[in-house]
Amino acid sequence: MDDTTLEADIVVVGGGSAGSTAAIRAQQSLPRGRVILLEKAHIKRSGAIAIGMDGLNNAIIPGHATAEQYVKEITMANDGIVNQRAVWEYAINSYSMIEELDRWGVKFQKTAAGDFDVKKVHHKGSYVLPMPEGYDLKKILMRVLKRAGVQIINRVMATRLLKDGDRIAGVLGFDTRTGQYTVIKAKAVILCCGASGRLGLPASGYLYGTYENPANAGDGYSLAYQAGAELTGIECFQINPLIKDYNGPACAYVTGPLGGHTVNARGNRFIESDYWSGHMMMEFYRELHSENGPVYLKLDHLAPETLTEIERVLHKTERPSRGRFHQGRGKGYASDLVEMHISEIGLCSGHSGSGVWVNERGETTVPGLYAAGDMACVPHNYLLGALTYGKLCAQHALDYIGGFDTQELHSEQQDQIAKERERVFAPLSRPDGIPHHQFEYKVRRLVNDYLQPPKSANRLRAGLEYFDRATHELEEVGASGPHDLMRVMESHFIRDCAEMAARASLYRTESRWGLYHYRQDFPKMDDENWFVHVNLKRDEHGQMQLFKREIDPYVVPLDESELRGYHHLRIPAAEADAAQ
């Protein structure tokens, strides 16, 4: 079979929220240019929000919040380890993104007076804008993409980036239905591949019961790493409070403003704020494992109309199968507490702070390579951050490509293309090899055993020893067709992410971000030595290199007590309980 060879000005990899706005913006600015949107699934239901979201978690609406306040809040929530300029850029550009979404037909909750109906969920400020008809979001984005004239390629998976010297020269991958090898030459690439959500194994043992859409297997983390880009904060894991055995959030953002809250088995509240942060998760974890566990979401005190409203939103957006889950267990919001648990670990900047290093222009450290959304490190960026940064990346990528014409593929690139073809299709030569799901189960079970907090050097090293062996085990994994091949390539991404997570966790010899990086052997936060970013990259010998990166001076200064603003989330009475 001949390769598919294409040429583009800009290739966007991943057609979720960030990828959609990136491709729309790029094509709108280049009416005669070639913008390709590459999607492993189909853009109508891809990305983290396959079925839409119930709201924007971090809207900075004039009159309700300011950019200064927001930057402070995120700096606090991330224990000071932020590139504030990148967060600031989001803060000042996100409102115009909301207005644009509003024009595109996205329905936000508004007051009788027609203003955006903002709710308070965060510890300090008010940033939550409900989107009760959020199930339309992906459809709306698809319509705008088509209207803009973007060339959309569904069911093609990127496996490696093409380089020309130091800079990006394109994308390599294959069609997961036909097996056709695909080479796309490009002047710039914007990675929007979502979280590394298939890293830890859910406690149920069900491989696809992950919090994140399991299609988000860390593709972007691995693609960027293998291309030589820096990643940052990988030790700051994503761990979320979820319904026990079900991968939906409980969900503080929806139920919180309507009076729902988290309680322990004694029916007492123990945290002041249900906003997801490492410190909140630490209190959640402590309570769960104390004699006061399990932990529950309490809704049974709410009025029937309020419960109907909660169900109307929660059972239609984000994770709409939750209604049938509860019913299957014979539980209802009016009569029962909803048992909660903590999710498997993952990497995600949308929720915590682990991702590919980007600056305020969405640039990675590789010229011509941009990243946005859950995989790009702008902490706690969520859906609106993905949409906003997709657009910002496109704007800056357009400036970058203005400078040169597409280069011919030299023998150096031909070598990369041939080598990757060989690597990708190798599993097809051993259809009787180890099945991908067995490999994946094993590597993810060992991620749980060795990387899940609480962390310690001994366990992390034991994990690393296995992840190294897993490199060789991957050479035994076989595939009988293109679909299996997709899963095998995802297994490579998962292994890469596991190694990054272990090495970054080992490198930062302190505890920070509550549960996200809780080291039993270094239980204290150590600002003197570790008030820095921990970055990693692949060096010229193919080795993973870890190093400190200074934190740039803040745009919005915080005093010492503000910096620790998220350290006291436990309710004082519960503090006394816990001490007993």
């Binding site: 069900y206 019961g209 859409n213 079900y246 679909h483």
Partner: protein, 94 residues
């Protein structure tokens, strides 16, 4: 006993060198398709699936869940124009 020990060392070596054997296993899967309602040659649900676990069953010409990789997100069920799909919570979580 010494004979057994030798045998074990030989088998240890062999265990590292022999090829792979495999078996078939039946899985209960979440996506249930009503063959009466499902339209032959319609591929809407197959396109909707974010993990591509649905396919046309060559025996029936109708959609079925081919790979045990469902995220129970309901995209297929919601997008089906004939209400032919019901997604159950995977048994391990039910």
């Amino acid at each position: 006993m010494s004979e057994l020990k030798d045998r074990e060392s030989i088998k240890t070596l062999q265990a590292r060198q022999v090829g792979n054997a495999h078996t078939e296993r039946r899985f209960d899967v979440p996506v249930v398709v009503d063959l009466e309602k499902c339209i032959t040659k319609c591929r809407i649900c197959i396109d909707s699936c974010p993990v591509d676990c649905l396919a046309v069953n060559p025996e029936t010409g109708k959609a079925h869940m081919k790979f045990d990789e469902c995220w129970y997100c309901l995209a297929c069920e919601i997008d089906c124009p004939k209400d032919a799909i019901t997604v159950k919570i995977p048994f391990l979580l039910r």
